[in-house]
Amino acid sequence: MNTVIDAHNISKVYNPTTIPVYAVNNVHLHLQKGEFTALVGPSGSGKTTLLNMIGGLDRPDEGNIFINGIDITKLSANELISFRLQNIGFVFQSFNLIPVLTAKENVEFIMQLQKASKQQREERVKTLFAQIGLQDKLNERPSRLSGGQQQRVAVARALASRPQFVLADEPTANLDTKSAFNLLDIMARLNREENITFLFSTHDQRVIDRARRVITLVDGRIVQDTAEVSTQHEEAAAVKT
């Protein structure tokens, strides 16, 4: 398996000169291609800060983050924007879409930023809308879509640029159960069938239950990582045999 995300000793400190508060404290994180991982923890545990740093939206005060071998902490602000466009898909909690554009235009938007041709855009939009099951909502504005439908369009947009991985910050937080399951089904299927890597922060037990790997953060530190547990189980089983 390929390592997509490789974060070494990353820390983020607020108020470093007065009373330092570690939002993220000396975190090591490795994510392989095709993982479906949930980042969980109580409010203020540093989930969003960690996600922002991995997504190149924020910079760590210490440590390095390698995405596909590129140390993004060394990139300039402009280089980071281009890097995000080409490598990372984002799904936010809400207000994800551009309200004046239709669902199709919102998905096309990211490809227009990538200077994709009209034909490429059309084909990709067709595929993505089929995957999220919203072929009949192509020309609807976000205000005419339900919250769940908007989040599905946001997932399509995140995937439109063919990113290395998708970061989702509390994607189901504002959704009812049915919409949340629907969204999770789509994300899980894309992960399974297209081998797309997902890393999402969540409080939502429904999301946690679906994740194949769960990383628990408390006070900015990783206190549990199910990948390590399963690795230990695998190693123990190997020793027994």
Partner: protein, 405 residues
């Protein structure tokens, strides 16, 4: 192209806000165009009134005449010189004058007067002298008669058909003396001219002053009076150095100073107007930026380069400013033309004061295209300047902070 389409869509995302901004710009353009056009129109009318009294828009003299206005500084008329002047761009007409002073006497009253020998036909074409006639009849070029200004006639107790005796100093110290019949009385708005002026045909004046074939000035009229100053400057470089070419502003500097001072005051008023508009546009931009803070942060987060975002926001501002400005200009054009054809009329005491000075009591607008262009450009420039605010906010934008609720 897609950026332009997105800007257009964004512009109408909050229809009322955009319409309010456009309305602010629309009224700004209309108000500033009307204010500028009225200012120009009033000043042009004032200049027209003043120069048509006597000086004309420009004069050509022998060099040094204006500083020492004596007959010895006159020059010989030459058809070639007149033709050269008439060939100058924008020059519509020319009339010669021989001007000096003389004592005018009637009975036991004697007054000093300004004697102007004129080409009777050309003079009236430029200064409308014939229209100022209140008694008697206008001069013919062969007459040896005079026209007296009303104030001077009253002081001398002279009426039409009476005889006035003139005595003065002629060309090169010759004695000038003669008796002339008063053929008509003319009335001037300017008290100074009304108390002093006396007109006679050019040939009669040359004979009176023994200045045969001489004139002291050529008075010029222009096709485009707004370009008179530029035409004078052009003429200066093309005329023989023995002549001086003077504009009305050089000859009546106090009027020019008055116009300059009033123009400056007007600039303050316009400045305040522009500031109000700026605050109006800025207010809506401020609201827009607050409203779209999360979205703008999200756009940068998903990979939209800041430069593209700046272009997007600037195009949105430009479209709004342009639309308001163009509609404002389109509406202001017929308004200005209407007020030019049907000028505002002043009433009451002010109107009487205007009429006493021989001015028509009106406030016409100027239809000079430069006014529309300049005001449009000023408002657009203001809009562009204010649209730098969103650009500044984008430069400083931190997507994480922008997306924080």
């Amino acid at each position: 192209m897609w950026l332009l389409q997105l800007a257009w869509k964004n512009m109408w995302r909050n229809r009322y806000r955009t319409l309010i901004t456009m309305a602010a710009i629309f009224f700004a353009v209309i108000l500033s165009v009307i204010a500028s056009s009225l200012k120009e129109g009033i000043f042009n009318n004032l200049v027209k009134n003043v120069v048509s009294f006597y000086t004309g828009y420009a004069q050509v003299h022998k060099r040094g005449y204006w500083n020492e206005q004596i007959l010895d500084n006159s020059f010989e008329t030459a058809p070639a010189t007149e033709q050269k002047i008439l060939r100058q761009k924008n020059v519509a007409g020319i009339t010669p004058r021989l001007e000096s002073f003389a004592l005018v006497s009637s009975g036991d009253v004697t007054k000093g007067s300004l004697v102007a020998g004129i080409d009777v036909e050309k003079e009236t074409a430029i200064t409308g002298l014939k229209d100022k006639l209140v008694q008697g009849i206008y001069l013919k070029s062969t007459d040896t008669a005079i026209l007296l200004a009303q104030g001077l006639a009253e002081r001398l107790k002279l009426k039409v058909a009476d005889t006035a005796v003139l005595i003065g100093q002629g060309y090169h110290g010759a004695t000038a003396a003669g008796k002339y019949v008063v053929k008509g009385i003319v009335k001037f708005g300017s008290p100074e001219l009304n108390d002093k002026a006396l007109f006679m045909p050019l040939a009669a004046a040359q004979d009176f002053y023994s200045a045969y074939g001489m004139v002291t000035s050529y008075v010029l009229s222009f096709n485009n009076t707004a370009a008179a100053e530029a035409s004078v400057i052009a003429m200066r470089s093309s005329m023989d150095s023995s002549y001086e070419v003077m504009s009305w502003g050089d000859m009546i500097p106090d009027i020019k100073q008055h116009i300059t001072a009033d123009s400056n005051n007007m600039k303050y008023v316009q400045g305040i107007l522009y500031m109000l508009i700026c605050f109006g546009i800025f207010g809506t931009l401020l609201m827009m930026m607050v409203e779209r803070k999360f979205e703008i942060g999200m756009l940068v987060a998903i990979g939209m380069k800041k430069i593209k975002l700046m272009v997007l926001l600037t195009v949105e501002s430009i479209l709004t400013v342009f639309a308001g400005c163009i509609i404002g200009l389109l509406v202001s054009i017929p308004v200005i033309y209407y007020l030019n054809r049907h000028p505002l009329r002043i009433g009451g005491e002010t109107a009487k004061a205007y009429e006493r000075f021989g001015f028509e009591a009106i406030f016409p607008t100027s239809t000079d295209a430069a006014i529309f262009i300049n005001q449009g450009l000023v408002v657009i420039a203001m809009g562009l300047l204010i649209s730098l605010y969103p650009v500044y906010k984008v430069i400083r934008l931190n997507p994480v902070a922008a997306m924080k609720k």
